[in-house]
Amino acid sequence: MTTTQIPTAVRTPDVDPPSKPRRRQREGAAWVFLSPWVLGAAVLTLLPMAVSLYLSFTDYDLFNPPQWVGLRNYTQMFTEDPRYWRSVVATLTYVVIAVPLQLGLALVVALALKNMRRGKGFYRSAFYAPSLLGTSMSIALVWRAIFNDGGTVDNLLGTGGWVNKPGWALFAVALLTVWQFGAPMVIFLAGLQQIPTELYEAASVDGASRWRQFLSITVPMLSPVIFFNLVLQTIQAFQVFTPAFAVSAGKGGPADSTLFYTLYLYDRGFVASHMGYASAMAWVLLLVIGAVTAVLFRTSRSWVFYASEGDR
């Protein structure tokens, strides 16, 4: 039976244990296959991570050699830079609003489509389309216009547009993310279809209500997929850039309300040429995303259920 689960490591055993020289030859072949990836991982991932950690303790403007400043970038960030904190607040607010709404909608739609006899494929594709289009600058510009003064939302709700109001601009960006619920929905739908129907049949024989079945069968069986989507979408949400750039003309306004973390990092590094400061910001982002992921993984032990790990 197929089960859903987040992969941890390759466990497939080799077919037959080959003789020693043969094994060495095949080991060599593996490294040839792996060589582009190894080079990329070393030169474009590991080395840059180390360098950005080093740079985060320096002043560096790309033209003069880096000047070691110790923790100053970090202390400045945490104690002297109100814009930094505004970017943190904007990003966290956005993550907390956009991710649950997006995943909730994705789950509801996936549940609605699950037992549909006709048109399922059509809806699945149609709802998925915004996930591909929505990351584009084109749609970000549409969003800015629709949520601007005199745009559709203003005409509909008479709120005078969202993108130019500090308290509202963030919601416009969050809605753009929610609009792209199709990708997690497709993953939910695939997960739902792997739940054996016998479970539901047995439960309804036992007289379990629809809601009871949802709570006792669907949620636990789907929990690995929910977890996968939650981790992935949260990590992505922390890094949102294009819509905020478009909505605020690259400046994070109004009143820094859409100054997302990445936007401010771009501003510090590539506009103001403070590469050291931007590196420090990047490392804090890395640590925060790592910590959030770790917390999600830790809490997942209590709610994520892996069918294949009955002995847990």
Partner: protein, 287 residues
Amino acid sequence: MTTSTVAVRKPVAWHRIALHLGCLAALLVMLYPLAWLLATSLKPANEVIASLDLLPSSLEWSNYQTALDGVNDVSVWQLLGNSLFIAGGAVVGNVLSCSLAAYAFARLRFRFRGPLFAFMIATIMLPHHAVLIPQYIIFNQLGMVNTYWPLILPKFLATEAFFVFLIVQFMRGLPRELEEAARIDGCGPFRSFFLVILPLTRPALITTAIFTFIWTWNDFFTQLIYLFSPEKFTLTLALRSFVDASSQSAFGPMFAMSVIALLPIVLFFLAFQRFLVEGMANSGIKG
């Protein structure tokens, strides 16, 4: 009381009809921004904001004419060519390098396979910004800033672990007997990769190619930091020139160009939606 032998008229499935109506209504709302984009790209300047109607009173094709002239004296054709070049290079790079790495992870044995695989998965979650600045410095030192190298070269080094993972998932589903048979016929790992496994992996490779194309096409951030000569701009980057423009008169041409920039993605989606939807579905589950 009716017996089961008598033909019973099926009861009207109201809840199914309601479900379809709900889905259609949701679709209409979701498609609105796209309809708005298309309509606005054809609107005369004075109707963009003043008019509430979605449909323009007259079709203003000159918006597209203006858009074709391009931005900063660079025609749309050149921008389109630049975008295609970058996306095409990225597709070739990703398909090649990711399938090579995936084969090693899925099928071959080597020391540290477990830890390396775990590391590869972890890089999916690594925020791009943690490596961004040093990567920029490296490419700057190599004199590659304001060229297409920083946008294409990393794809030849399998840096997009998501695709390695996608192909690994797919290759694990292929029967092992195939390679055993190939080995008995005298194929080494290279020949069995190219002749046996790769052709069977085609669906995953197509999925990788299409996703790479669309994501590279849409990517804004990388292009923003690496390219600054207008003649090297992509369509996405050229749209940026409109970001600062507050003048309403540029609205029509701006959205005409947005339509042009979106068109390849829409076409790709319509042509390959099966691969895209299933590729996304397979990314979340182990078959």
